[in-house]
Subunit: 221 residues, 2 copies
DNA sequence: AATAATTTTTAGATTAGACTAAATTTACAA
DNA sequence: TTGTAAATTTAGTCTAATCTAAAAATTATT
């Protein structure tokens, strides 16, 4: 069994090796976890001794199969609890991350499976992130961001790649939430800002925002 | 804010001062928490410094108003989560205590209030224990055990005063669960065992079992 | 009241996780 | 290839929570 803290390290290493590729660097972990590199080194030794990571001094880390299983288990719990909080307890999508950070460490296999069933085996969390099944398998997905859609095309929002409450509330205000269908009218050459048609309204969003909105292209409306 | 561990100490002190009267002794806390008296003394000093308990060396402890508020908050969360696990996730009443021991430390006032609402503001947990409201107020209750009912009388089971899975499964097997109406036929003088009529069946239970079943007397069937 | 038994506290260590400061290794540029 | 900057690790502390063993205080018993 892993401690709360060990689980958080594994989860962070997992996320970092998804975004950039592995091996993951000590400093990257330290920054993400708001701690110091020296603390990370201490923990890496411990995780290595427990065979949860592969680690050579100065060479960064990758998760072992076992370590990845644990990390994906934590991600699964986090995302299922987020669905619970939004679907059952009526929280907004920008409020659930912090609470799920605590709930993800509750330790009961039976609880996770029953929660999954209670929620109807959801495939994605409220931000559109995929939920691994009990075997740790994710449904394949495309991950195209809005900025990559050619003009004149339609798309449906399936997720976001940035989870800060400020960003999520901004999207909410723009009516850019999961499931919304939009038409991409124009990408401004000068600053990369994007003009959209959403709910019959024309709106303009910055390149930064557009790049954090994940979509599926749609052939028709 | 209190740590996980501090919350557990406060909860234990709270429970012990309900059962026997206060002040609560160091050894009693140690036994209940499966730890050593020396560890308890260390923690008592800390809780005293935080003004969560009143404590004089060698004289035992009582909770301060603040400490009691925290303890009741933990009890409230524990019992609400137990209701969730049984009512929504279909756990049995003998399976929920351990999971609730973890969930009770999740830290979000909004979560507790929304969970309470989602569950329909339950007044009692799956073992019949009262759930304090958001202000820490318990609904008054009588707490008569089955052994105190005069023969020939009817009663309805409202709770239990012993929560071990073994005991709960035993009751389940005897069909002695919350809400069940029974008639007390006889209390055997020799060993205090009790003869009951439940669901039209005559059964016999030991004095020990009878004393851990809490009931309300009923005038009629 | 004196002594024995019990309870509680103190003293001193230990472990997990974190920190600072200094040393070391790696990477990169002149 | 040599020197410097950046990244990482080591060494040594710190705090929270625990422990054992010993000392002190309280309670019970003659």
């Amino acid at each position: 069994m892993q401690s709360f803290t060990e689980e958080n390290y594994l989860k962070t290493i997992y996320h970092l090796s998804q975004v950039n590729e592995s091996p993951v660097q000590t400093n990257a972990i330290a920054e993400k976890m708001q701690t110091r590199a020296a603390s990370v080194t201490d923990m890496l030794k411990k995780l290595f001794d427990k065979q949860l990571i592969d680690y050579k001094k100065y060479q960064g880390v990758t998760l072992t199969t076992h370590g990845e299983t644990v990390a994906i288990g934590v991600v699964r719990k986090h995302r299922l609890w987020e669905v619970f909080l939004v679907e059952k307890l009526q929280f907004r999508w920008d409020e659930v991350h912090e609470i799920a950070e605590e709930l993800e460490h509750i330790n009961s296999a039976a609880l996770v499976e029953r929660l999954d069933e209670f929620l109807g085996f959801p495939k994605r969390d409220p931000h559109g992130d995929p939920i691994p099944n009990r075997d740790g398998i994710f449904e394949p997905s495309l991950n195209v961001n809005l900025h990559q859609i050619p003009k004149g095309n339609y798309a449906v929002i399936i997720g976001v790649s940035e989870h800060s409450p400020a960003f999520l509330r901004h999207l909410e205000k723009l009516e850019l939430t999961i499931g919304v269908v939009l038409e991409l009218i124009e990408i401004t050459e000068y600053d990369g800002s994007v003009e959209l048609l959403v709910n019959n309204k024309k709106i303009n969003i910055s390149r930064e925002v557009a790049q954090h909105i994940l979509v599926n292209r749609k052939e028709t409306v």
